[in-house]
């Protein structure tokens, strides 16, 4: 009896001590957090010894100095697009010691990104681009605060994001997003470092800086979608966005340290093929009636930007429907026709270089543009005549748009239509073939 009483007393004592200790630890934790925050704020205002050693080679420049490095440490930069431009610009800014870097992207890392988007390793294919970017940047410099915004930017979410940053970098890949970024920068009063690259060409300028013009001053009317190339269809050589992205980082650093010669009211052109740089002097007068001449509260950024541009806010492929349903076959139909040895002339209408990259063994290559040529037509007719039974003609391309155009073109010539059963195209093209029939066929 007495012993059980003792146990009870000891238990009560233990419980009290445990809760007292827990409370003490909780208070100490709060104290620790407070002091860590305080240390961070103090460290942010000045440079630590480690900072001085790490950034010494740039601090030595009179343009930077201790003051400039402090400005970089306190600065925040938002990068829209963690792609060909966003990768190099964020790498240089993180390495230069910019305190906070925000990354905006809605997309995942794809295999065909890796040749130019150097933040993403091949083990990160399929990962969210912002997450992959954050991983790599943190590995380069753990002192930089990387903030991820895994969103598709639009006129409704952009302002709240932009407000948190000092400088905005446009590293996007489409016209719609470029208008959204510009208008939000104008409304939020943020300088915009704009870069673009395709093929072997790059362009760079700074908008909305020290009263300079904005993107809309130069481009009040959006250009029509058919005049715009993108990296997926026109191609791009990796170092080209590399050059422009690095230059974007340079102009951003210059803005942060208040360098006198920031590239505003000028447009820099880079021609990688000729290894040529050219600087064009732009007007320094804002376009009369432009959005940027209005007062902040009168700037509306919730318009339908996709409707305004007549295109989508990405550089993804757009499927066309130019033919009737009965003028088209599926990849499964095509596979059946071929395995049944039906007389079929399969014309791959992609560019020669694409045909060289990969093609179906039973196809011949005639580029869409060449179909109009008389010589090509004569050869084609000869080929059709060589079949013992009347053949079918099937056109195929990468994803099923140009093959429809090819059917329309071929049907213009009675000397062809009279000699064949039918002319049809393959829905979804070679990409669909790769997905449904032969997974080893390269998708690009």
């Amino acid at each position: 009896m007495s012993s059980s009483c003792l146990v009870n007393n000891e238990d009560t004592f233990n419980d009290e001590e445990i809760s007292r200790l827990s409370l003490e630890i909780e208070l100490l934790k709060q104290e620790l957090n407070k002091k860590t925050e305080l240390l961070k704020t103090k460290q942010k205002k000045c440079l630590t010894k480690l900072d001085v050693s790490r950034y010494s080679r740039q601090i030595i420049l009179p343009e930077i100095g201790i003051e400039g490095q402090k400005k970089l440490k306190n600065a925040s930069v938002l990068i829209i697009g963690v792609g060909g431009l966003g990768c190099p610009s964020s790498m240089y800014l993180a390495s230069a010691g910019v305190g906070t870097i925000g990354l905006v992207d809605y997309d995942e890392v794809e295999l065909n990104n890796l040749h130019r988007q150097l933040l993403h390793g091949q083990c990160n294919v399929g990962m969210r681009k912002v997450e992959s970017g954050k991983l790599s940047l943190s590995r380069m410099n753990e002192d930089v605060n990387i903030v991820v915004h895994d969103v598709q930017l639009d006129g409704y979410n952009s302002l709240d994001i932009f407000k948190q940053y000092d400088v905005i970098i446009d590293a996007s890949d489409n016209l719609v997003t470029r208008y959204i970024i510009n208008d939000t920068c104008v409304k939020a009063g943020k300088p915009l470092v704009s870069g673009s690259a395709i093929h072997c060409d790059g362009q760079l300028t700074v908008y909305n800086y020290k009263g300079s013009v904005c993107f809309r001053c130069l481009h009040p009317k959006p250009q029509s979608p058919e005049t715009i190339g993108n990296c997926a269809s026109a191609g791009v050589l990796g170092p080209v966005p590399g050059v422009i992205g690095v230059l974007q980082a340079m102009e951003t650093i210059k803005i942060i340290i208040d360098h006198p010669n920031v590239l505003y009211n000028s447009l820099l052109l880079y021609d990688g093929g000729d290894c040529n740089f050219k600087k064009i002097k732009l007007t320094n007068v804002k376009r009369a009636g432009c959005l940027c001449t209005r007062s902040t509260e009168d700037i509306v950024i919730t318009m339908d930007y996709e409707e305004f541009c007549g295109s989508k806010a990405n550089d993804k492929f757009k499927t066309l429907n130019l033919l009737n349903e009965d003028e088209r076959i599926t990849v499964i139909d095509l596979n059946k026709l071929i395995s049944q040895n039906q007389p079929c002339l399969v014309i791959d209408v992609r560019k020669n270089v694409e045909y060289d990259m990969c093609h179906l063994p039973f196809s011949v290559n005639i580029q869409l543009n060449d179909l109009k040529r008389e010589k090509t037509l004569l050869e084609l007719i000869k080929q059709i005549n060589s079949y013992s039974k009347t053949p079918n003609v099937i056109t195929i391309c990468r994803r099923g748009n140009d093959s429809q155009r090819a059917v329309k073109e071929l049907k213009k010539y009675p000397q062809i239509t009279k000699k064949v059963n039918w002319i049809k195209d393959v829905i979804g093209g070679l990409n669909e073939w790769s997905m449904k029939i032969d997974k080893t066929f390269p998708m690009y």
């Binding site: 016209l175 870069g195 673009s196 690259a197 966005p241 447009l267 052109l269 021609d271 064009i280 732009l282």
Partner: protein, 106 residues
């Protein structure tokens, strides 16, 4: 003396992808013939359409109405034509006129 009526030697450059409309040649040395009225950039656009543009059916990738299509920046001696009077600018001998297609990829 009316210098405008004499023939003019200029270079027309097509960059940032526009060269595909001109046989993939970026730099064209051009002699503009003697005319009664002075050569302006507006007249040059029509001359380019008639004399340099390869596929006339692709004209709307270069011009819209009496000026360049949206998305093309024109520079005279590395200055935006907006600074110089746009289509009304009077071309001088040895002018370098650059046509730049704005890029949006990244």
């Amino acid at each position: 003396m009316d210098i405008c009526s004499k023939s003019l030697n200029i270079t027309a450059e097509f960059t940032s992808g526009l060269q595909i409309l001109f046989n993939n040649v970026k730099k064209h040395n051009v002699v503009l013939p003697e005319t009664d009225e002075p050569w302006t950039l507006g007249l040059l656009l029509i001359w380019i359409k008639d004399n340099l543009l390869v596929e006339k059916e692709k004209c709307d990738l270069f011009l819209k109405g009496n000026t360049v299509r949206p998305g093309i920046i024109v520079a005279v001696n590395d200055q935006d034509w907006e600074l110089l009077g746009n289509v009304k600018y009077q071309i001088k001998n040895n002018d370098n006129i650059t046509f730049i297609s704005t890029l949006h990829g990244g």
